[in-house]
């Protein structure tokens, strides 16, 4: 585990720094928007119940499916070959 960590320190640090930059940028936007805190909605924290709870997974599957459909023209537009990830 330790050698893997020391071997990959650079990418891990870069990922963390990049994340911090993104967060910093959004905190700046938030400061610019300047809002006061709101109360957390009690009802939204309720646990799901019954068949209605499956709706969450259906939504995710539908969105992923739409994404995959969007990818079709993207793939035909941007590539003539298989994925470049080797």
């Amino acid at each position: 585990m330790k050698p893997w960590l020391s071997r990959n320190t650079m990418p891990i640090v870069l990922v963390l720094v990049a994340s911090a930059l993104v967060v910093g940028a959004f905190e700046a936007i938030d400061a610019f928007a300047g809002e006061s805190p709101q109360l957390v909605n009690e009802a939204s924290g309720a646990e799901p119940a019954g068949v209605a709870s499956v709706g969450g997974l259906i939504k995710v599957a539908a969105f992923l499916g739409i994404g995959a459909l969007i990818a079709k023209p993207i793939r035909s537009r941007f590539s003539g070959q298989a994925s470049v990830q080797e």
Binding site: A18, S19, V23, A33, P48, G55, F63, V84
Partner: protein, 148 residues
């Protein structure tokens, strides 16, 4: 190679579960994020050689696919960071469990909702664009499991 594939499978399954808080419940949605973050970082780190190749390639020799993947993956990374960070700021379970008032603003709440929904779409595109690689490598690890 098989480690990368297994991490990617775990990442996808974890992401689907995380994206359906209506199904899994808010507490799972928030606590599982803690386990998801290292898997997400591992996904990037294990593909680091591919990432550096894509970013260092000579601009004139870059294919359209490489250009697309480069821009798209940056957007995906930014989206993932935003949705995770805003999720912590609008926490209804983890932070209150530790006695911290999340002090959510509608800015972060809207950001979490919008970026979360948009990200599902982007992940769908990401998976579909890399589908040939995924298919190839899943079929590669299947026989090795059978012979083990």
């Amino acid at each position: 190679m098989s480690t990368r594939v297994w991490v990617d499978i775990a990442l996808f399954v974890g992401y689907v579960l995380l994206s359906a808080p209506q199904t899994t419940g808010i507490a799972f949605h928030e606590y599982f994020t803690i386990a998801f973050i290292p898997i997400f970082i591992a996904h990037i780190v294990l593909d680091w050689s591919w990432i550096t190749r894509v970013f260092k390639r000579n601009p004139t020799k870059r294919s359209n696919e490489v250009r697309f993947n480069r821009s798209f993956d940056i957007i995906l990374f930014v989206g993932m960071v935003i949705v995770t960070y805003s999720g912590f700021l609008v926490s209804e379970s983890i932070l209150p469990d530790f006695g911290i008032d999340p002090a959510a603003t509608s800015f972060w709440s809207t950001t979490h909702d919008v970026s979360g929904n948009l990200l599902i779409l982007l992940v769908g595109i990401h998976v579909a664009v890399h589908w040939p690689w995924i298919k190839r490598n899943i079929s590669r690890i299947r026989p090795s499991r059978a012979t083990a």
